[in-house]
Symmetry: C2
Subunit: 352 residues, 2 copies
């Protein structure tokens, strides 16, 4: 019997409501599929910051490193600037644990509502693979001639061979596991003429190792347009930190799943824990009312189990979500229903 050690971080706002439901469903899956979960709870959040001046203790990463995975709710609260909350908790975990893959499914669930006309579940079912540590999110740059007419600010985009190759490799490997075996690369080499041609060059190089994968590439501007016009073209899409960020919000928006979409921040070598979090944020406007939708959190739990090697349990949770949505199970307000957060969690735990 296997034991998986999970660091649980509800974080802020509705994270405190969705995480318990995520755990409820994970617990049901553990019982059904015969493994154990050893949970360690951490209350690091914007409240911690208000009390201690820090989002997490100095040895925060060391504490988390003892776990196999981090199960995160949401980070951020009004009054605490993003550069404090996100850069004090979320980003340090992603970078400190070298979670260089951000993976997000963009999937039109049966019974969910896409903003697109005439599209069904068969049309929208792809993954966005995002580079999660370098690229446009750099820490070099600065300001010159401050306060004058000549003032300017620069920021470097940084693409390393190691950083680019490993995300491309992951994306090709993922494409190999998909029935269509198709990989699309997001570029902008016609406008951003140093880094993006390099990305294209490494993509072409990596493609040689995967003759079984069909590839194409689009500039990010027209690629965004294609997400809306032809979501059925895509199977796996890989992009830089910024392009992947954009596509992995646009993809779920197109699939009508932005409120319920999961995401994984993965260190594929398992040298460090990976982190699983819903795409939605802490939603201050509805926090404390227990009306938020826990599906994003629960679905993130399924991605976590898959990463931990519990594929059957992961599939079972995703299936339960699909069935609940398709068959009119309890729905929270954002999906046109009246159910509370706990109702949905309980229904899914039972289904599992």
């Amino acid at each position: 019997r296997k034991t998986h050690r999970i660091a649980v971080l509800p974080g802020d706002g509705i994270g405190k409501e969705t995480v318990p439901e995520g755990l409820r469903v994970l617990d049901a899956a553990a019982r059904r599929f015969g493994f154990d979960l050893e949970l360690s709870h951490y209350d690091w959040s914007c409240e911690t910051y208000a009390q201690t001046g820090k989002m997490m203790p100095d040895d925060g990463l060391d504490q988390l490193a003892k776990s196999d995975s981090v199960f995160l709710g949401a980070v951020g609260w009004p009054g605490v600037p993003d550069h404090v909350s996100l850069w004090g908790l979320l980003i340090p975990i992603r970078r400190g644990f070298d979670q260089y893959i951000s993976l997000r499914p963009c999937k039109l669930m049966p019974g969910a509502r896409t903003p697109l006309a005439d599209r069904g579940p068969a049309d929208i079912d792809f993954y966005v693979v995002r580079e999660n540590t370098e690229g446009e999110y750099s820490s070099t740059g600065g300001k010159m001639f401050p306060g004058t007419e000549r003032e300017f600010v620069t920021q470097d985009s940084v693409f390393t061979r190691v950083g680019v190759d490993r995300v491309l490799k992951y994306a090709f490997e993922l494409a190999m596991t998909r029935p269509r075996r198709k990989l699309t690369s997001a570029t902008k080499s016609n406008g951003i003429t140093f880094t993006m041609p390099y990305w294209d060059e490494r993509f072409a190089e990596m493609a040689k190792n995967y003759p079984g994968v069909t590839t194409d590439q689009f500039h990010i501007d027209i690629l965004c347009a294609h997400f809306v016009q032809h979501p059925d073209w895509f199977d796996v899409v890989v992009g830089s930190n910024l392009f992947g960020d954009i596509l992995s919000d646009l993809g779920p928006a197109v699939a009508g799943s932005i409120g319920i979409a999961p995401s994984a921040n993965i260190n594929p070598e398992k040298k460090f824990p990976s982190m699983f979090e819903p795409v939605h944020g802490s939603a201050p406007d509805i926090a404390g009312k227990w009306i938020c939708n826990p599906i994003g959190q629960i679905w993130s739990g399924a991605m976590m189990l898959e990463h931990l090697g519990e594929k059957a349990a992961a599939d079972c949770i995703v299936k339960a979500i699909e069935t609940l949505l398709a068959e009119g199970g309890p729905r929270t307000r954002d999906m046109g229903g009246n159910a509370g957060t706990v109702d949905v969690g309980k229904a899914l735990a039972e289904a599992v």
Copy 2:
């Protein structure tokens, strides 16, 4: 009687088919509204490159500088890399003439088809204002440790006070002319932590001069999602070179107008000519068949007339396009019809 001097550059592919139709309609407008057009024709294109090794002569910009506006078809052809064709003709004109505004209407035309469910013309009618000379499209950066495992490539994003302030000012001024007087800023200051906070700072500063304009801002990832989910939220949207590029393809895609959308590259001070071109490219797959849709070119002509001070003529052309689309006038294949390029051009010239 006023005379406007127009430099006409059909460029490549279907540009050679759409530009004559654009001129046909401009000519009709000139006759009806009582002004003259003095045309100078330039055949610079990828063919020029094949013959001379250059996309345009060395004194190309000087030649164009004698005109009030440039009326461009499309640039690019298979076999000539983008960095040759675009960076040899399109980008030098934009930069050489300091066309620091790229302006694109995103408008659901009556009778046109949006990929979104349940959206009508009243829901999608906004402008994207893009910075067109600096930002992420920089010319500084480079490669280090080439050919080794340590290889990396950098590219600077460069935001100057002058460059940021002037595009923001243009956007605020445009918002002032719109009934809703609303301006949305595209940012990513939670991830790109040098340049984007600077953009936000200048936006807040500029907003003080325009108390009559309602403002908001979104990170580019969720902003793209909102374009799909809530296109009705937007009136004028302003973004950096890259963000504006993305939004000004996504906007027309959402409006179902990507094949017919116009764009303007503007030097607002009229120190240099401005340039007007359709959003679509040279479309090698259908070039030479005279079946392409000339509406993007014709609509670009309307934007040109507006820039030249012929507002009544511009409005008349846009109205003619709306009427043709709404009342089932001749349509090219991309819009589900059978008409040729010339049929549509003639119908619109007659309507004007």
